[in-house]
């Protein structure tokens, strides 16, 4: 609408000679006003446009991070709520552990426990890294990683280079704890023999490269069959195959003298499957379930003394 007015007014102004001077004065006043007023008015909404160095207050950031749609109230687990029974299973006991049984429940450790820990795994371990709230740990994990990749696939970025997991174990820092979780990407391989052989070989390489580390071998958490079907997961991603693979882990733990961690029992329901509420695709977990996984690890640890004693007893 304003566009249609302007030509008319311009024409009329040109007719009156006495009008020119006041118009110029008015224009000058408007110019001054426009220089002052907009700069004051504009600064309110897009303040950050003008002042890129402005540090936002802390208050906006906290709700953003904590307004997670998930139900879990905190990003850090509360392990003190978990331990219940067996005082003899405390983290300081040194005799009740052997490689023939899963690691028993122990006193919960602090998050500092993971400052010298390394996690090796696939996309599930990737999820543990980003969703569980774990702090301080190192992760050699990669989407689609499987046991046959350990000396083949360069997935670890370190010192500007890319290395296989075995190379990184040999060249990288020494760790005090190494957690291994693999198996879901291997379900499509026939049988379990090749899996067993490759895993045994890998565990021997880990022990050789990291002789002072407690090695935690985590068994395989089942899938949710219904959701797997809904999401068109491959047919070999099923709990019969998961059970086949889980029969291998105790054997590996005993033969290679590494600590077996029974995350399968911790993260499956009474029917022995991954509960529907714990997954959106049948295979990977929700944030709450990653936190539950971390919580379990924090309450199932072995002291170096107990680990050493178990090795001596096994020999």
């Amino acid at each position: 609408m304003s566009q249609s007015y302007h030509p008319k007014r311009v024409k009329k102004r040109g007719k009156g000679p006495g009008v020119t001077l006041p118009l110029l004065v008015a224009a000058a006043v408007v110019c001054v006003c426009l220089l002052l007023i907009p700069s004051a008015g504009k600064s309110a909404p897009p303040a950050a446009d003008v002042t890129p160095n402005t540090v936002p207050t802390a208050s906006p950031s906290a709700p953003v991070v904590e307004s997670a749609p998930q139900s879990t109230p905190t990003s850090t687990p509360e392990p003190e709520a978990t331990p219940t029974t067996t005082p003899e299973a405390g983290n300081t006991q040194t005799t009740a552990f052997s490689f023939t049984q899963p690691v028993p429940q122990s006193d919960p450790v602090d998050m500092d426990y993971f400052s010298d820990a390394l996690f090796i795994g696939d996309s599930r371990t990737d999820g543990l890294q980003i969703y569980s709230g774990i702090k301080g740990a190192t992760f050699y994990c990669y989407k689609g990683l499987n046991i046959f990749d350990m000396s083949k696939r360069q997935v670890v970025e370190m010192n500007g280079g890319k290395y296989t997991v075995v190379e990184a174990l040999q060249r990288g820092p020494q760790y005090k704890k190494i957690y291994i979780s693999l198996g879901i990407n291997e379900l499509g391989y026939p049988g379990t023999d090749s899996f067993y052989k490759a895993f045994k070989s890998f565990l021997e390489e880990v022990k050789a490269a990291q002789p002072d580390a407690i090695i935690y071998l985590q068994n395989l958490v089942p899938v949710n069959p219904e959701i797997c079907a809904q999401k068109n997961q491959p047919s070999y991603v099923n709990n019969d195959r998961v059970a086949d693979f889980n029969s291998v882990f105790p054997k590996l733990a005993e033969e290679c003298q590494v600590a077996l961690v029974d995350v399968k029992s911790a993260l499956s329901d009474a029917n022995g499957i991954l509960p529907a509420e714990a997954t959106v695709d049948g295979v990977h977990y929700t944030k709450a379930w990653y936190q539950k996984w971390l919580e379990y690890l924090m309450c199932h640890t072995v002291t170096p003394e107990a680990y050493q004693a178990a090795q001596t007893a096994a020999q």
């Binding site: 009008v19 118009l23 446009d49 991070v65 969703y131």
Partner: protein, 158 residues
């Protein structure tokens, strides 16, 4: 006098309009995305098909390889299926830090393409249409199932 005013007012108004328009065009139209509002607007759109969940600032910084101390505010969502869909809206201490963050977000896209091309090949197309922007002291990454819909949301902000 009344006649003069009657004549002056439209002229002044026209001048105001002209000068306002000129003033707007003279500034750099830097868009600073509010992390929470931008992420929520994207989530509310139909641009995503996967279920996303939040990452805290330190975890996101580590994942992207960005110095956490340069991030003053953030909203980061990644896929619970470990797919490609992702939202990262970061406010940084200054424009230089935002440029560095943008480079890290570009690297994230190429890393994800590399990781997913054999694991979830269907997800790679989403990454090929990833939106990565740096504007003022903000940096943004959006990997959506419908990149055009996500871009429309972004265009409608600010």
């Amino acid at each position: 006098m009344k006649n003069l005013l009657t004549r002056l007012v439209p002229g002044v108004l026209a001048l105001c309009l002209c000068l306002s328009a000129c003033g707007g065009g003279g500034e750099t139209a830097a868009k600073n995305y509010d992390p929470a509002a931008t992420a929520q607007a994207l989530l509310d759109s139909r641009a995503f098909t996967d279920t996303l969940d939040t990452l805290d600032k330190d975890t996101a910084a580590a994942m992207y390889g960005i110095d956490a101390s340069t991030i003053t505010d953030s909203a980061v969502y990644t896929s619970l299926s470990m797919g490609a869909e992702e939202i990262a809206v970061l406010t940084l201490t200054d424009e230089a830090a935002a440029k560095t963050a943008k480079e890290a977000l570009d690297k994230r896209v190429s890393d994800q393409i590399e990781a997913l091309k054999s694991y979830m090949p269907a997800e790679v197309d989403k990454l090929n249409h990833a939106i990565v922007e740096q504007s003022g002291n903000t940096a943004l990454l959006v990997v959506a199932a419908d990149a055009a819909a996500a871009q429309k949301v972004l265009d409608g902000l600010n």
